[in-house]
Amino acid sequence: MSIHSVNDFVVRFANINGSGSASANQMFARAIIRMGVPVATRNIFPSNIQGLPTWFEVRVSGAGWLGARGGADLVVAMNPQTWDKDVASIDPGGYLFYDCSRPIPADRFRDDITIIGVPLTEICNREYTDSRQRQLFKNIICIGALAAILDMEIEVIETLLSEQFRGKDKLIDANRKALHIGRNWALANLPCPIGLQIHRADGVGDRIYVEGNSAAALGAVYGGATVCAWYPLTPSTSLAEAFISYCRKLRIEPQTGHKRYAIVQTEDELASIGIVVGAGWNGSRAFTATSGPGISLMQEFLGLAYFAEIPAVLFNVQRGGPSTGMPTRTQQSDVLACAYASHGDTKHVLVFPRDPGEAFEFGALAFDLADRLQTPVFVMLDLDIGMNHSLTAPFRIEPGKRLDRGKVMTYDDLESGRDFGRYLDVDGDGIPYRTYPGVHPGRGSYFTRGTTRDAYARYTEEGGPYVENMERLLRKFLTARTLAPGPLIQMAARPTKLGIVHYGSTAPAMDEAATQLARQGVDVDVLRVRAFPFSDEVVDFINAHDRVFVVEQNRDAQLRTLLMVEHGLDPRKLVPVLHYDGAPITARFITRAIADLVGVDQTAGKEKAPA
């Protein structure tokens, strides 16, 4: 029995890295979005350059679920190397789309799936003589054939082609021709459409489709960042590269053509954070983009920035650890390494965006927080958010919003004789005033150091002033609770003593899982943590529930540890739900894990049991 589904299925492309398939695959996803049907796309790629397998997963979800689903209903198998695994990955009743130019032995197929062969290579060899053209147009011919079998509107793809190659009419015509070659072949030779179909809908609205790293980089532009120092490190590289490209468009001085920004690709992560600290000290908004291994290298500087109170923003696009770990897989396993980075007593501000939309919002906000709190702020992205395109609300900035530079004493302040003590808690919020170097000839200068000092930045090793300073840093951290984004809570339909706490890229899967659980009769309130330090609402939420599942993408339940350590919460009531194999967490996983824990017979529910 073949799967029949409109606007609700998963297509997985199995490609060869470097074959030029990526842009064709993106076009396929965009075409579905243009038809008003939400999609969630994910790249699955091993850590290598060319010739090895990559996968691109398109989850078509009319209901709008953007988390990974797991399984595949249609596999487009273009890589002979991974053939067996790809064929095996198809859900029973699913479809296999492949290039049938060369015969494949019958025993390498399955009889519980529908086989769709298109002689892509043969068609290409017939139509094109140039080998590069054969490769590139093969991808477009493939999309044309897929459009036919899935009943997609071909005009939508044509429009996308003309947008992509705007101004290059020859390319538009050539691509359009290839598209129709594929489509016409499928219409003439295959039963079109198959059981999986895309029907025009109205599920996308004004949402945009964008990569998390790109959104975060744009956030840095809107957050007023002028200095970026970075060292290439998967999966953070595209964040710095996106910053470069946005700055070229948005940050050029019109009169002169000069740049209102400075970007340095450094020799290592130590230099990156050093430059960020130096620039932050001197009054520029500065950031670095890195991942776990970079965070490990930056530890000493993070302690300095914490103790000397220098603003710095770090985008940590987390990947699978420890060590080199899984460089091209996703995890949320740097929570503790960032929260308590460096030796001595330290605590750092973390923000946890859920998707590209919040990556933009928090990416900009992080610079205000860093300046206001005069401390490093970590934007905790991960590979799933950073390196995948996702549908998200369009970028908006608050009208009239100004950059918050925090407590900076100006020349006039100093000239008027205001008392300046670099580490003096004037306002009782733990945040002292600072000056930018060189502001005044006679006042406001001080010596910045990682060693202890008094409230006027004078070196001292006396225990009293040291303790006073450390206590003030704690007061400042309490202030951070009121400034960082608070949690979002979604209450169950009926009162319940069960709660879920989650954060970051778990959110899209969690949205879906909450609905699945409700359908199975499990009422559960859901809180999404958006920052550390945790606000009172987080603690109140946990106190108001008997059992709280803490859903995370790491082995050691790091956020749970943070909750226990910082708030003395009862470990018995905080139940870890952990997913850390490097693939993005799915609603199926969360639903099954929590249903198991609360003892629900899942076969009684309407949902199909997770595969």
Partner: protein, 351 residues
């Protein structure tokens, strides 16, 4: 540390510079280094150079890493902003500070441990990145704060207090700086103020990466025998630096400069300084010749001091990055935040 209150008044005839400032305006707090430390002489030379150039002290940022040398910025230019960062990482912090505000003068003070060992990479990359700065290394061939371990500039065969003999090849930061593209390279000796002050002045005026290696004996010439200050700490340093002997041997050469053998070097502010020539045929504008000269002299056991190389048209990171002339830290919301209209355009391209 002691804070000696200094009287605000001074003798009416006391020397002032163009800004009307006295030497005292360029001082810092009292040094906590060993009495007679060569580093204090360097601090003094920096103060003299800044005084003589009539630089407003608050427009200078003094940055350092960790070590004896890195403590010195506290002891000069009190009204300047200072940053004592982490070990070996002054160059990156200075680079960041420089990116944020290109209008200030950046003075990086480091040591041989700070620059040739733990921070060798940052030293190299800040030079090759052409950061407009004065990078001054107080070079004593030894770790002072941790009591006398060899540093990477210690000469092969040098003997430490406890008898250990250094078997590792030394790193010559001057040769490295030349190789890495520094556009101003000099070496001096902390005891030769007459040479050091003009070099620092020239380095400050140079608009590019200026490197000065200052051989600075760890505890000075006046550490006479029988001194009550001869604790182990002092003695260890004194013996650890066999370069001290080396220096002494060089001293006559310095004195033997032929009179009248001078070279006029033009500075970026239009002024010029006169430098005594190192060798009769020496040309400070020839990088390759400079390297060859250094090697030849080194082979004959000599250390070359003076201005070794200078490029009249130096590189600068800001020029490479094509940054605006306004310091980045002075750009406001209007220059930095592109606005909703630009976002709308981006949004429409993402559908």
């Amino acid at each position: 540390m002691t804070y000696l209150p200094k009287p605000k008044f001074h003798h009416p005839a006391i020397e002032t510079n163009k800004l009307g400032l006295t030497h005292r305006d360029y001082e810092g707090s009292v040094s906590t280094l060993c009495a007679g430390c060569g580093h204090d002489s360097i601090s003094s030379a920096i103060m003299h150079a800044c005084f003589e150039l009539s630089l407003p002290p608050h427009r200078i940022a003094k940055l350092s890493g960790i070590g004896c040398s890195s403590k010195t910025p506290t002891y000069f230019l009190g009204p300047a902003h200072g940053f004592n960062s982490v070990h070996g990482r002054m160059p990156s912090v200075l680079t960041g500070a420089n990116l944020a505000n290109r209008e200030m003068i950046y003075l990086g003070v480091s040591g041989d441990g700070d620059s040739a060992s733990i921070g060798f990479g940052q030293f190299a990359h800040s030079i090759r990145r052409a950061v407009n700065m004065v990078y001054l290394v107080a070079n004593n061939g030894v770790y002072g704060l941790t009591k006398g371990q060899f540093s990477a500039t210690a000469d092969k065969g040098a003997r430490a207090k406890k008898g250990a003999v250094n078997t590792d090849a030394p790193i010559d930061l001057v040769t490295m700086a030349l190789q890495l593209g520094a556009s101003f390279v000099a070496r001096s000796f902390s005891g030769d103020k007459g040479q050091l002050v003009p070099l620092i002045k020239a380095a400050i005026e140079h608009r590019g990466p200026a490197f000065i290696d200052v051989i600075s004996p760890c505890v000075a010439f006046n550490n006479h025998e029988g001194s009550t200050k001869s604790f182990d700490f002092v003695r260890e340093h004194n013996e650890a630096i066999n370069t001290l002997d080396f220096i002494k041997e060089r001293a006559p050469i310095t004195a033997d400069y032929p009179p009248g053998s001078t070279q006029v070097v033009r500075l970026h502010d239009g002024s010029s300084i006169r430098l005594r020539k190192i060798g009769a045929d020496y040309d400070v504008h020839d990088r390759i010749a400079a390297m060859s000269y250094l090697m030849t002299r080194e082979a004959s056991g000599e250390i070359v001091t003076g201005l070794i190389y200078m490029d009249d048209d130096p590189e600068d990171l800001h020029r490479h990055l094509d940054t605006v002339s306004t310091p980045l830290n002075r750009l406001g919301d209007a220059e930095l935040v592109p606005g909703q209209a630009a976002l709308d355009k981006i949004n429409s391209g993402l559908r």
